[in-house]
C-alpha cells in the first residue's frame, strides 16, 4: 500500500522535517498534532492493509519433482534423522554405503539435512540422494553434476584408446588440476600404449602430476621408467656370503646419480642426503624386488643391522602401500608393531591397509596381553578407522570397560565395532559406576547403527 509507505517515510525522518501526505481517509481535526495524525493514519492504513489483503498473483510455483526411480528407504528415516541430529556423519556414510549396494535412495524428508553434506562427501552421498535429491539440489543451485574425476573415469572406462588420444590432444590446454585428475584415471586399464602420454606427464612443471605419472610408470615392469628404476635399485643391495654367515650391504646412491624426473621424498628428520636419495629410489620400486628368495623376516633382520636401516624401512613402507603389496604391508605392520617402532616411522598408514586377518590377529593378541603392547594396539585401532570384527569388538569392550582411564574411548570405537557387540553392553557393571555413561552411549551408537543397517534389509 503506497500510502502506508509514504506515512512510514514521514515517521522515519520525523514530522519536524517532513510533511504528511494529503490523505482523504481521515478528516483533519482542528488542533490535532501532526505526530498524532501520522500515528493514527499509520494504524488505520495498516488495518486496511491487513483486512483488505488479497495476496499476489504473479508468482509461479516451483516445478514439481520428477518421479523417483530408486526405491525409497522409508524405514531408514527415523534412525537416519537421529544420526544426523547427533552429527554422526560416519554412521550416515556407513548407511549410505549399504544403501548404494541395495540401490536404495534417501527418504525425501532428510534431503535438506543431507544436501549440505554432499559437497564434502560427494562420492558416498551423491548416489543415494535419488531423483528427488538431484531435483532439489538443482533448485538450491548446488553443483551436483558429475565431478571431473567421475567424468574422466567414465570416459576412460568406456574407451581407453579414445581417452588416451583425447588426453594427448588436450593435455597442454588443461589447467594443472584437470591434468592431474586426467592422468590419475589412466590407472583404469593401464597398458603399454599409455606410456608416451605418461612420459609427457612425467616432465610436467607440476610436482603432483610428475608424481602421479611416476606412480603409474613404476607400476608396470614393462615400462621404461620401471626398468630404469629397477636398474637404479639393483646396486643398492649386495648380499655378502662368508663361510659362517651372510650379510647385507646397503649402498645408498648419490642424488646426482638419480634421474631428474624422480621426485624428492619429503624430508625426514635426521636423514642425510644419501639416506634421502635411498628413500627416493626404494619408495618407487615394488618391494617384492628386494627378496627374490629367502624370507622377508631374514631380510628385515639384515636390514636392521645396516646404517641405512631407517631409510630403507621408510622407503619400503611407502612402496608397500603405493604398490598395494599386501604381503609386504602385513609383514611390515607386524614388524613395526612388535618392535613398538610404528611411530618412529611413517608406519601409521600400515594399520589402515593391513589385511583384516593380520590386523585382527595383532589387535586381539595385544588386547589379551599375549603379545604386543596393548596401549600401542589400541592406538593403532584408533588410527586405522576400519570396521572391527565381532570378536575384536567384544574383546575391546571387555578389556576397556573396567579401565577407569580408557573406557570412554569405547564411544569412539562404537562407530567401527560390529553392531552385534551390543550384546556385550546389556548389563551394567556394579563395581564400575564410572563406566555406566560410556556403556549407555556405546549402546546408543551400536543400537542406532544396527537399526540403520537393518532398516535396509527389506530392500536388499
Amino acid at each position: 500500500m503506497k500510502t502506508l509507505s509514504e506515512v512510514a517515510s514521514v515517521i522515519q525522518v520525523g514530522t519536524q522535517r517532513a510533511t504528511l501526505p494529503n490523505v482523504d481517509l481521515l478528516p483533519e481535526t482542528p488542533g490535532e498534532k501532526s505526530e498524532k495524525r501520522a500515528l493514527v493514519l499509520a494504524g488505520t492504513l495498516d488495518l486496511m492493509r491487513r483486512a483488505g489483503g488479497v495476496g499476489v498473483d504473479s508468482v509461479k510455483p516451483l516445478p514439481t519433482a520428477p518421479q523417483e526411480i530408486g526405491r525409497v528407504a522409508q524405514a531408514s528415516e527415523a534412525p537416519l534423522s537421529e544420526a544426523l541430529n547427533k552429527k554422526m556423519i560416519h554412521v550416515v556414510l556407513e548407511w549410505a554405503a549399504k544403501a548404494r549396494q541395495v540401490r536404495a535412495v534417501l527418504p525425501p524428508a532428510l534431503l535438506t539435512a543431507i544436501l549440505p553434506l554432499v559437497k564434502k562427501h560427494r562420492e558416498e552421498l551423491l548416489p543415494i540422494i535419488g531423483e528427488r535429491g538431484h531435483w532439489l539440489g538443482q533448485l538450491q543451485g548446488l553443483d551436483l553434476s558429475p565431478s571431473d574425476d567421475e567424468e574422466f573415469a567414465a570416459k576412460r572406462t568406456e574407451d581407453p584408446a579414445a581417452y588416451r588420444e583425447w588426453l594427448t590432444t588436450e593435455f597442454e590446454a588443461m589447467d594443472w588440476k584437470e591434468r592431474l585428475k586426467a592422468v590419475k584415471q589412466l590407472q583404469i586399464q593401464l597398458s603399454i600404449h599409455d606410456e608416451p602420454i605418461l612420459e609427457i606427464a612425467l616432465k610436467d612443471r607440476r610436482k603432483e602430476i610428475r608424481e602421479a605419472a611416476l606412480e603409474l610408470l613404476a607400476s608396470q615392469a614393462s615400462f621404461n621408467v620401471a626398468l630404469e628404476l629397477a636398474l637404479l635399485a639393483a646396486p643398492i643391495l649386495t648380499w655378502k656370503k662368508s663361510f659362517l654367515s651372510t650379510s647385507l650391504i646397503i649402498e645408498a646412491p648419490d642424488r646426482s646419480e638419480l634421474p631428474k624426473w624422480l621426485p624428492k621424498s619429503p624430508e625426514v628428520h635426521g636423514m642425510g642426503p644419501k639416506a634421502m636419495a635411498l628413500i627416493d629410489v626404494v619408495s618407487n620400486v615394488p618391494p617384492s624386488i628386494w627378496v627374490t628368495n629367502g624370507s622377508r623376516e631374514k631380510f628385515f633382520e639384515h636390514v636392521g643391522k645396516s646404517d641405512y636401516h631407517r631409510a630403507m624401512l621408510e622407503g619400503l613402507i611407502v612402496a608397500a602401500v603405493r604398490f598395494k603389496d599386501q604381503p609386504w604391508i602385513d609383514a611390515m605392520y607386524e614388524l613395526l608393531v612388535s618392535r613398538m617402532d610404528i611411530y618412529k616411522y611413517k608406519g601409521r598408514d600400515l594399520a589402515a591397509h593391513a589385511s583384516p586377518e593380520v590386523f585382527e590377529r595383532i589387535a586381539l593378541k595385544g588386547l589379551r596381553g599375549e603379545e604386543y603392547q596393548s596401549g600401542l594396539v589400541v592406538q593403532m585401532i584408533i588410527e586405522a578407522k576400519r570396521p572391527l570384527s565381532f570378536e575384536l569388538s567384544c574383546t575391546l569392550i571387555d578389556t576397556l570397560k573396567t579401565n577407569n582411564h580408557s573406557h570412554a574411548i569405547l564411544t569412539f570405537f562404537a562407530l567401527y565395532m560390529h553392531v552385534d557387540a551390543i550384546s556385550r553392553t546389556e548389563v551394567p557393571i556394579e563395581e564400575h559406576h564410572a563406566f555406566e555413561d560410556t556403556r549407555l552411549e556405546v549402546r546408543n551408537i551400536l543400537s542406532l547403527r544396527k537399526r540403520l543397517l537393518s532398516s535396509l534389509d527389506s530392500l536388499a
Binding site: 520525523g14 522535517r17 495476496g55 516451483l62 527415523a78
Partner: protein
C-alpha cells in the same frame, strides 16, 4: 484414549538425547509388569539401580509419573512407554495399586482445584470494582506517558530514536503501569526498528496499531462489550478462565496447527483447532515458564471431543477446553487463499488487535520471487511466507499440491503444517 503416533511421541521429548534414549527404552526386553487401560499406560523399566523404575502415563491429558531421578519431563522411561503404547505393543490390563493411586490423586487434585475455585468467595462487587478502577487509573496514566513517548519518537523520526534501549525503558515503565501487553508491543517495535530492508512500513503499522489501542483504551467505556474485552486483553489484563460465562461449545476438535514460541521467558504453545461439525475455529493457548511442561498440549494430527468455552471478544477465537476425550483425527479440507483472507478480514474488522488468523489452504504449493518465498493455491493466488525457507516441505512433497495450514499476520504466512494426505 488418545493413541499418539511415534512422531507425536518424539515431539513431546525435551531434547534429542531423550528421543534417542526413549527409543532405546521402547525395547520390550526393558519392561516388566507393563499394561494399559483407557486411562493410563504403566510399566516397570529396568535401570542401572537395584529396583526398576515405575513409570506411568495418564493418557487422557498426557501427564507422566516416573520414579527415576531424571529431571527431564517427560523422562526417557515415559517416552519409551509412550512409544510402545503408540505402536500398540501393550496388552490391556488393570492398573496396579501405585498407578491407580496416582490416577486417583490426580483426579482428586483436579476436583479440589475446581472446588477451590467454586468455593473461593468472590470478592464483593464493590471491592472488585474498586480494584479494577485503581488498576485502570494506573494504566491510563501509563498510556498518557506512552502516547507522549510515541509522539516524540515520530516528531524526531525513528532514524533518530533507533536505540532499542529507550523502547525497552518505556516498556518497563508500562509493566510498572500494569499494562504488560503494551510493554510487549513496545519491545517488539524497538527490536524491529532498522532491521531488514522494509522495516519502515512494518514499524509504522505496529506503531499505528498501538496508537489505536491506546486511543481505544482511553475510550473503553464507549466500546461494545466484545471489543472492550479485546482492548483489555491487548493491554495485558488477563481474563481468568474461572470467570468465563459463555455457553461451552461441545464438539470434536481437530488440531490443525501448532507452534511454540518463547518471549520474555514465557513459552507459549498456540494451537489452532477446528470444530468438526461447524468448521468454527478455536485458538488454544498453553503457557509454561522455566522449562516446565504445558498443562495440556494439543498435538497436530490429533483430535478430541471437548467442551470449549470462548473467551469474550468481538470475534471470539481463544478457548478454554474441558472434558477432553481423545477421538480419531479427521479434519475437513482447506480452501483457497481468497477464502482465508476473507476470514482474516472478518476477524480484523471486528478485532483489530487479533495478531494472527489461521488460513487453511488446499492444493497449495511453493514458489519463489527473487529471494522471497510464497505459498500458492490452485487459483494462482499467493501469500508471502515468514521465517525459514520451506525447503523441508518442498523436499518432502516434491512441490506437489498439499494441504497447508498457516497463521496469517497480514504481511506473511507462518506455515504450521503441510500434508499430502487429502483431508476429507
Amino acid at each position: 484414549m488418545v493413541r499418539l503416533t511415534p512422531e507425536q511421541v518424539f515431539a513431546l521429548a525435551p531434547d534429542a538425547s531423550a528421543v534417542s534414549a526413549g527409543r532405546e527404552l521402547a525395547n520390550p526386553a526393558k519392561w516388566a509388569c507393563i499394561g494399559e487401560s483407557e486411562l493410563a499406560a504403566w510399566g516397570e523399566a529396568k535401570g542401572s539401580g537395584k529396583n526398576p523404575y515405575q513409570t506411568a502415563v495418564d493418557l487422557r491429558e498426557i501427564a507422566y509419573k516416573c520414579s527415576c531421578p531424571s529431571r527431564k519431563l517427560p523422562c526417557k522411561h515415559a517416552l519409551g512407554l509412550l512409544l510402545r503404547h503408540a505402536k500398540s505393543e501393550i496388552e490391556p490390563g488393570t492398573p496396579p495399586t501405585w498407578v491407580q493411586e496416582w490416577l486417583d490423586k490426580r483426579a482428586e487434585r483436579s476436583e479440589q482445584k475446581a472446588e477451590k475455585v467454586a468455593s473461593t468467595p468472590a470478592a464483593s462487587p464493590a471491592d472488585a470494582e474498586k480494584r479494577t478502577e485503581k488498576r485502570w487509573a494506573k494504566i491510563l496514566a501509563g498510556i498518557e506517558e506512552c502516547e507522549s513517548f510515541l509522539e516524540d519518537a515520530v516528531s524526531q523520526g525513528l532514524y533518530a530514536s533507533q536505540s532499542a534501549r529507550s523502547w525497552d525503558q518505556m516498556a518497563a515503565r508500562m509493566v510498572d503501569a500494569q499494562a504488560p501487553g503494551i510493554a510487549t508491543r513496545l519491545k517488539r517495535i524497538g527490536n524491529a526498528i532498522g532491521v531488514g530492508d522494509a522495516w519502515g512500513p512494518t514499524v509504522a503499522g505496529q506503531l499505528g496499531n498501538l496508537t489505536l489501542l491506546l486511543e481505544a483504551a482511553k475510550r473503553i467505556e464507549t466500546l461494545p462489550e466484545g471489543l472492550k474485552a479485546d482492548v483489555r486483553t491487548a493491554v495485558g489484563i488477563s481474563f481468568r478462565k474461572e470467570d468465563l460465562t459463555g455457553e461451552p461449545v461441545e464438539d470434536v476438535w481437530d488440531v490443525l496447527g501448532s507452534t511454540i514460541e518463547t518471549e520474555d521467558r514465557i513459552t507459549t504453545c498456540r494451537s489452532w483447532l477446528q470444530a468438526r461439525s461447524t468448521g468454527k475455529w478455536a485458538l488454544h493457548l498453553a503457557f509454561s515458564a522455566a522449562g516446565q511442561p504445558f498443562d495440556f498440549q494439543p498435538l497436530i494430527g490429533t483430535a478430541f471431543h471437548a467442551k470449549a468455552q470462548y473467551y469474550p471478544s468481538a470475534y471470539p477465537l481463544r478457548v478454554n477446553l474441558t472434558e477432553i476425550e481423545p477421538q480419531p483425527f479427521q479434519p475437513r479440507k482447506g480452501g483457497l487463499i481468497a477464502d482465508g483472507l476473507e476470514f482474516a478480514a472478518d476477524v480484523w474488522s471486528q478485532n483489530p488487535w487479533a495478531e494472527r488468523v489461521p488460513i487453511p489452504i488446499t492444493a497449495g504449493s511453493f514458489g519463489r520471487k527473487e529471494s522471497d518465498w510464497f505459498v500458492i493455491d490452485s487459483s494462482g493466488r499467493a501469500l508471502p511466507l515468514m521465517g525459514e525457507d520451506p525447503w523441508y516441505l518442498v523436499a518432502l512433497f516434491g512441490n506437489q499440491p498439499i494441504e497447508i495450514v498457516g497463521e496469517w499476520n497480514g504481511s506473511s504466512l507462518n506455515v504450521l503444517c503441510g500434508s499430502d494426505d487429502p483431508w476429507t
